[in-house]
Every structure is written in structure tokens, then in C-alpha cells.
């Protein structure tokens, strides 16, 4: 920057202002991003603890620590908090808020006040969820009718909370779309955008178009429970499969709301730690959009044995297979980026490589479930539980942890202990696989999901899975402590510790309010690594 000296004299890091109100009333996209980060991380840890309790119950057949109803409440709590309070708002709202304006060379998002409003809605939704715990729901996170209409637990409060979260999600998506369209710095063409921005853009489209459907569906469910209008209950002339269609019309695209930002994250991490341009930038960008588009057309693959017609099942099986294609392109292109690189196994890079490895398993097992004859056997078994966790933890959470370690110096201006971070990574990686790989076998053997108890022949695999979950829990604990200790004890972070060429690393750590002293002029895309004259291959 030309006027670097002036910038330094006026430099006030965005973190400097103290006091809780300076946060809750801040319209700075970075502060809002950090508030989301704290909220979703808290949700993640709480929902994680509930899953450890479930695994403890399942360590042996028969009642161990909770009874059947309590178990059902636990998995409902785990699912709803993980899905709606952690992973859907998750990377999109926390990292998206922090990074998008920095990456596109803007001072803030397009509608800063609306952005803060979205966060308040999130808090309101979370508060309502907490109140609903007085009589916690036992429907599972899917709220299938007619059970969700008939159960005596508090479904109305919980779904109201999720409805409000949905509004938060829609407004965030809208804000990001407008920001990316209108606030790019001079020279920042679409093909010079960071892939994380592309991923956030694809995610925002899904948030904007799919979320209203789940909002309306939950509203119909509430109306049915309160006023007895028969939308879904067959006893009142309703159609329970209609609910499933509505629900998955949102919830399948939602899977991509969860995963696309993580794809964006590792597309940033891998080039930096390989010192290579991302392989096939355009294919990577357009495959994100392709996945988002196809994700609207595959929802009924959750319903092959629900009683819907065989013709519909066949069409949805075909469309589901199409998702595998752009996904395969991404996996291959990430791997090809490593070729002839200079690879540094920083903790963030370890998480990124873990994502490729684990998400490949998650994606391939998805092909099993997309195949009609195979799905009939595997549907609603532990195979689905394992598949989903390989995608959600192996994909999204690995991306999330990778992002935390990668952008930590920029976010907080401090460094964490890299050795401890690697130990935590190893425990998380091993613990995760020991927890969830046995669940594939449980599923192929026929163990149904959402069972509070199980026949003795499944005992050894369940026991192994529980042991894995404890290792995973210890790993996450060490990682959390390490990152929190870095805030107080860490060394001061330099402006650009990894020599990245991306825009967010060209501002001080932590960045000042409004990010840029002077709006930069962009001349190339953010993956210019290596010697240009050696182009080959």
C-alpha cells in the first residue's frame, strides 16, 4: 500500500473496543462474524456432549445411563442443535461474515444493520430452543408427521425457534448475494473471486430459495398441532408423505448449505500450503454452482421406501447420481493441486487433507444410498448415520476446524501452539474414524438407527464406536483449550504468516474497522503461486 505509514498511525484493530454492548450493537461484519463463531462453537460443544451421552448409553445393550424416552430426547436435541444452530448457520454466517468483505475488497457487507438483525434473530431462535427444553421434543430433527403431531412433548416451541433461525438464514443469504454482486473492488471480476466467495455465493442462493420452504412447512405443522387442521395427519385426511416432500425439499439443499462453505475453505488452504495455483479454477467455481443447482432436484432420495411411486424413485435415483460428478471433479482437482507443490503440513493443511480423505468416503457411501436396490436395505440403518457423519464431520467440521486454524492469526492477531494443534488433529482424526467406521458395518448388518437399545449381536461394534467417540471428544477438548489459550498466551501474529496472495492477508492482523485504508485495485486471481514461466502439464 502506498500510504502504509499513515495506515499504521491510524490503525485501530477491530477487536479493540471493549464491553458487551460494543459487540451486540456492532454492525462491523468482522465482529458479527466473531459473535456467530462464538455462538455456533458453543452450540457445537453442547450438542457434542449430548452425542457423547448417547454413545455412552449405547456402549452395551440394555439400559446404561438413560431410558428410551431420554435417549430419544437426546438424539432430537443433538440433531436439531447440530443442524439448525451449528452447521447450517455455521461456516456461512461466521466465516462468510468475517471473510467475504475482506476477500472482495469491501469495507463491509451491503446491509450492515440487516446483518446485525440476522444475528439477533439467531439469538432469539436459540433462546426459544432453550425454553423448549423444559419439555424437550422427542421427534428427531426431521419432525416426521404424524408422530410430531401426536407426541406430548414440546414440538411447537422448538419449531418456532427453527422458523426464526430460518429467517436469520434467509437474510444472511440475501445480504451476501447483494454484497458479492455490488461491492467488489475495482478489477475484482467474477473469475478473480476467491473460491470461498464462490462457495458462499452458491450457499447464499440455497439459503434464499430453499429456507422459506422449511419455514412454511414448520408453520403448517404448528397450525396442525394448535388448530387441528389436517395437512399431514391421515386421520384428518392429510398426507404424511407430503410433509416429507416439503421437509426434504429444504433439507437436502441444506446439506449443501452445510458443506459448500467447507469446500470453499479448503480451496483456500490447499494452494497456500502447496504454493501452487488451485487446479482448474473455473471447474472448481462452476462445480459449486452445479452442486447447488442439482441439490434442488434430489430431495426424494430420502424417501425411496416411504410409499412414493416407483417411477418417482427411479427419477430421483438418476438425478442423485448426477451430484457425484461435480463432487468428483472437486476431489480430483484438490488432489491435483498438490502435484509438484511445496507442501507444508500446517495444522490447517492437515484438516484440509483430512477433509478430502474423509469426504471421499462420505461421498462414495452416498452413491450406495443413491442406488435403489441398495438403499432399500441400507435406508434408516446405521449406514446412513455413518455416511451423514462422514459428510458432516469429515467434510464440514474438518473444513471448520481447518478454517479456525488457518484464519486464527487474522481473526485474533495471535498465534496458537502449533504442536498441540497437531496432537489434537491426530486424536480427532483417529477418534472420528473409530467412532463412525464401525457404524457402516452396523448398518450393512441391519442395525436400525434411532434405537435406544439393540440386540446383543451388535454389541462389539457399538462398544468400539463409543470408545472412538471418547477419543474424538478428548481431541476436540484439547483443540478448544489450545485455541482459547492462544487468545491470552499466544504470540502476536504477523500480517501474513503464510505468504498468501489473497486480499484478506494484505491487511493488518487483526484488521481495522472498515478493513482497507484505501480500496485495493485487483489485477489477478488469488492463487498466483509458483513461477509463471514454468507452466506445463
Amino acid at each position: 500500500m502506498a500510504n502504509h505509514t499513515i495506515a499504521e498511525t491510524l490503525y485501530v484493530p477491530y477487536l479493540d473496543e471493549k464491553g458487551i454492548l460494543s459487540w451486540l450493537l456492532s454492525t462491523d461484519h468482522k465482529r458479527i462474524g466473531i459473535m456467530y463463531l462464538i455462538s455456533i462453537s458453543t452450540s457445537f460443544l453442547i450438542a457434542g456432549i449430548s452425542s457423547l451421552l448417547m454413545r455412552l448409553e449405547l456402549i452395551a445393550p440394555g439400559k446404561t445411563i438413560v431410558d428410551a424416552h431420554q435417549y430419544n430426547v437426546l438424539f432430537t436435541f443433538h440433531g436439531t442443535v447440530m443442524v439448525f444452530f451449528f452447521i447450517v448457520p455455521g461456516l456461512a454466517a461466521s466465516l462468510g461474515n468475517f471473510l467475504i468483505p475482506l476477500m472482495i475488497g469491501a469495507r463491509d457487507v451491503a446491509f450492515p444493520k440487516l446483518n446485525l438483525g440476522s444475528y439477533w434473530l439467531y439469538l432469539l431462535g436459540a433462546t426459544i430452543l432453550l425454553i423448549s427444553l423444559l419439555k424437550p421434543a422427542d421427534t428427531g430433527w426431521t419432525f416426521y408427521t404424524p408422530y410430531s403431531i401426536k407426541t406430548g412433548t414440546d414440538v411447537i416451541l422448538l419449531t418456532t425457534g427453527i422458523f426464526i433461525l430460518g429467517m436469520s438464514s434467509i437474510l444472511t443469504g440475501l445480504n451476501f448475494i447483494v454484497t458479492i454482486h455490488k461491492l467488489r473492488a475495482p478489477g475484482m471480476t467474477w473469475h478473480r473471486l476467491n473460491l470461498f466467495v464462490w462457495a458462499s455465493y452458491a450457499t447464499a442462493i440455497l439459503q434464499l430459495l430453499a429456507t422459506p420452504v422449511v419455514g412454511i412447512t414448520l408453520l403448517l405443522l404448528i397450525m396442525e398441532r394448535v388448530f387441528g387442521i389436517g395437512f399431514f395427519d391421515p386421520a384428518k385426511g392429510g398426507d404424511p408423505i407430503l410433509f416429507q416432500n416439503f421437509f426434504w425439499f429444504y433439507s437436502h439443499p441444506a446439506v449443501y448449505i452445510m458443506i459448500l462453505p467447507a469446500f470453499g475453505v479448503i480451496s483456500e488452504i490447499i494452494p497456500v500450503f502447496s504454493r501452487k495455483p488451485i487446479f482448474g479454477y473455473k471447474a472448481m467455481a462452476y462445480s459449486l454452482l452445479a452442486i447447488a443447482l442439482i441439490s434442488f432436484l434430489v430431495w426424494a432420495h430420502h424417501m425411496f421406501v416411504s410409499g412414493m411411486s416407483e417411477v418417482a424413485a427411479t427419477i430421483f435415483s438418476f438425478l442423485t447420481m448426477l451430484v457425484a460428478i461435480p463432487t468428483a471433479i472437486k476431489v480430483f482437482n484438490w488432489t491435483a493441486t498438490l502435484y509438484k507443490g511445496s507442501i507444508q503440513l500446517h495444522s490447517a493443511m492437515l484438516y484440509a487433507l483430512s477433509l478430502i480423505f474423509l469426504f471421499t468416503i462420505g461421498g462414495l457411501t452416498g452413491v450406495f444410498l443413491g442406488s435403489l436396490a441398495v438403499d432399500v436395505h441400507l435406508h434408516d440403518t446405521y449406514f446412513v448415520v455413518a455416511h451423514m457423519h462422514y459428510v458432516m464431520i469429515g467434510g464440514t467440521v474438518m473444513g471448520f476446524f481447518g478454517a479456525l486454524h488457518f484464519w486464527y492469526p487474522k481473526m485474533f492477531g495471535k498465534m496458537f501452539n502449533e504442536k498441540v494443534a497437531k496432537v489434537a488433529w491426530a486424536l480427532i482424526f483417529i477418534g472420528f474414524n473409530v467412532t463412525f467406521f464401525p457404524q457402516f458395518i452396523l448398518g450393512t448388518l441391519g442395525m436400525p438407527r434411532r434405537y435406544a437399545d439393540y440386540p446383543p449381536e451388535f454389541h462389539s461394534l457399538h462398544e468400539l464406536s463409543t470408545i472412538g467417540s471418547l477419543i474424538l471428544g478428548i481431541g476436540v477438548f484439547i483443540m478448544t483449550v489450545n485455541l482459547l489459550r492462544g487468545l491470552t498466551n499466544g504470540e502476536k501474529a504477523p500480517e501474513n504468516p503464510y505468504n498468501s496472495v489473497s486480499l484478506e492477508w494484505q491487511v493488518p492482523s487483526p484488521p481495522p474497522h472498515e478493513n482497507f485504508e484505501k480500496i485495493p485495485v485487483v489485477t489477478d486471481y488469488p492463487y498466483v503461486y509458483g513461477k509463471k514461466n514454468t507452466q506445463e502439464g
Partner: protein, 312 residues
């Protein structure tokens, strides 16, 4: 270690072939990617801060290659899965029909000869069976891993599945769609019999069983019914609370009802609670028990009462 259940229906083997096919393709893809990751990470690890790296932005040929090959593979997987699925959804004309009703939390089977059983489905080896299903309440799912079949049961419409059992034996039946507190206890058995044994069961097992059970004292018959008729899914005999009240120490004791009154659990109260469970609900429990009027005979009810009396 086995990772697939026993194959006990005629298309179990075909489904497993599809599973193996997808598994092998997946394993090859997975191994290729893992080798690539590990090999590159080791071979191209950073040796110094000044490592020179080439500026490679992509390769159209390679990208086409790994677009086209996966596309072909997933289409083959789709077609193969569809072909087997089509047969799984096309029952033969001569299939024997059995009606199944799922309710929280038991399976009720009604046969063409007028017989009816609870939680036990009797079928004949090598004879196709078409199971016509409906739910009395919430959604359930009929899942027999050994047959590789699964289908949801829904209120207000019929669904079906079919299979030809190929092995004599007893196979596990699970409810695979979450249906509430008793979901993991909604278990049943499919009993596959040789044609001769099935004949005997169809014609006169009741008489045979009548003879067999005639020798049983009522409390032992009650214990047998407790396990066979699914009472054990919801009522414990050791004092623990499941979906319904425990039977331990029940007889002769005062019970508080939802309307605030109390009643002594005597023969008439227990009889009424079995035949019309919603008439006098015990405080703290939901109205979820199905009525056993027409399912259990007077003798059965008397035997269960005799059994409850022994649980002090």
C-alpha cells in the same frame, strides 16, 4: 467378519451383488485418491522456504477424464440398482398375501385363512409372500435384514413389499422408522417353515399348541404370552419403567389414574386394561397401548392375570 447379514430371500443375493459392485468401484476410487494424497504429501513436502513450484493452473484433458469416467460409472450403478429394484417391486401373481398392521409398538399379522398373530410372521419356504401393510397410528417401517426388504407403513394408505424366503429359520424383523418411545422395542420375528410344517401350522397348530399349552399352568402360559404377544416391549417385570407401568408388584396394589382417582389392580381392572386400555389410564403414561379385544382370548387374558399375580 461378516459385514452383510445372512441371505435368506431369493433376491438377497442379487442385492448383495449390487452392493459388492458399488463397493468395489468405491474402493478403487478411494484407494486412488488416498494414494495420490499420501504420495504427493510425502514426495512434494516442503524442503525449504525457497522451494520453486511450477505455475500449473489446470489441464483440460485430465479434467475431462475425471468428469467423464465418474459419469459413466455412476450411470452404470444407477441402472444396475434400478434393474434389481424393479424386480423387488413386482410381486408375482401367485404370491400369498398377508396383511400387516403396525401400531405403537407391535406388529399384527392377518392371514388369508383367518388366523392372526402378533410380532410373529409365519411364512412358507420358497413360497412368495406379498405383505400388504398399513399403520394404525404413526409411520413405521417393516425391515427384515436377512431378506434385504424394507417398506414404510403409513396411515390412510396401503403399502406393500414381497419376498420369497429361501431358508427355514427365524429371522429378525425391525421397525426402521422412528415411531416414539417404544421404537427400539418394536421387534418381531419372521418364522420360515418347511412346506410340511407350514401345512401343519395352517391347519391345526392351534390344536397342537392347545394340547401343548393345555399342560401348562396358567401362570406359565401367561409368561409365554407376555413374551410372544409383545407385552414385554412396554411392561417390565423387574420394576423398571418402560413405556407402560411395570407389572412387578402390580396385582392387588392401588393405582393412581390420570383423572385423579385411584383403583385397586384386581382381576377386573387388569382384564379391562388389556381389552380396552384407554378406559382407565395410569397416571404418568400416555394413551398408546393398542386394544387387545379380539386378539387375546378369555383364556389368554386369564393366563396373563395369573402371571402378573406371580410377579411380587
Amino acid at each position: 467378519m461378516n459385514w452383510l447379514p445372512e441371505q435368506a430371500s431369493d433376491f438377497a443375493g442379487r442385492v448383495d451383488t449390487v452392493i459388492w459392485f458399488v463397493t468395489i468401484i468405491s474402493l478403487i476410487s478411494f484407494i486412488l485418491i488416498t494414494i495420490g494424497l499420501v504420495y504427493f504429501a510425502i514426495k512434494y513436502r516442503r524442503r525449504s522456504e525457497n522451494d520453486e513450484t511450477p505455475y500449473i493452473t489446470g489441464n483440460l484433458f485430465l479434467e475431462m477424464l475425471w468428469t467423464v469416467i465418474p459419469s459413466i460409472l455412476v450411470m452404470v450403478i444407477f441402472v444396475y440398482g434400478f434393474v434389481v429394484y424393479r424386480d423387488m417391486r413386482t410381486p408375482p401373481q401367485d404370491a400369498l398375501e398377508v396383511n400387516v398392521t403396525g401400531k405403537q409398538w407391535l406388529w399384527q399379522f392377518q392371514y388369508q385363512n383367518g388366523k392372526s398373530t402378533i410380532n410373529e410372521l409365519y411364512v412358507q419356504q420358497d413360497k412368495p409372500v406379498k405383505v400388504v401393510m398399513r399403520s394404525d397410528d404413526v409411520i413405521h417401517s417393516f425391515f427384515v435384514p436377512a431378506f434385504r426388504v424394507k417398506q414404510d407403513l403409513i396411515g390412510g394408505m396401503y403399502t406393500y413389499l414381497w419376498f420369497t424366503p429361501t431358508k427355514v429359520g427365524i429371522f429378525d424383523l425391525y421397525c426402521a422408522e422412528y415411531c416414539g418411545t417404544g421404537h427400539s422395542a418394536m421387534l418381531g420375528k419372521v418364522i420360515v417353515m418347511s412346506p410340511e410344517a407350514y401345512d401343519r401350522w395352517e391347519k391345526g397348530e392351534e390344536e397342537e399348541e392347545g394340547k401343548a399349552v393345555a399342560g401348562l399352568p396358567p401362570d406359565q402360559l401367561g409368561e409365554k404370552l407376555y413374551k410372544e404377544r409383545g407385552c414385554n416391549a412396554c411392561h417390565s417385570i423387574d420394576g423398571s419403567t418402560l413405556v407402560g407401568p411395570t407389572w412387578k408388584g402390580l396385582f392387588g396394589h392401588e393405582v393412581s389414574l390420570t383423572d385423579g382417582s385411584t383403583v385397586t389392580a384386581d382381576e377386573n381392572y387388569i382384564r379391562q386394561s388389556i381389552l380396552e386400555p384407554q378406559a382407565k389410564m395410569v397416571k404418568g403414561f400416555g394413551p398408546v397401548m393398542p386394544a387387545f379385544k379380539g386378539i387375546l382370548s378369555d383364556d389368554d387374558v386369564a393366563a396373563i392375570i395369573a402371571y402378573i399375580k406371580t410377579l411380587k
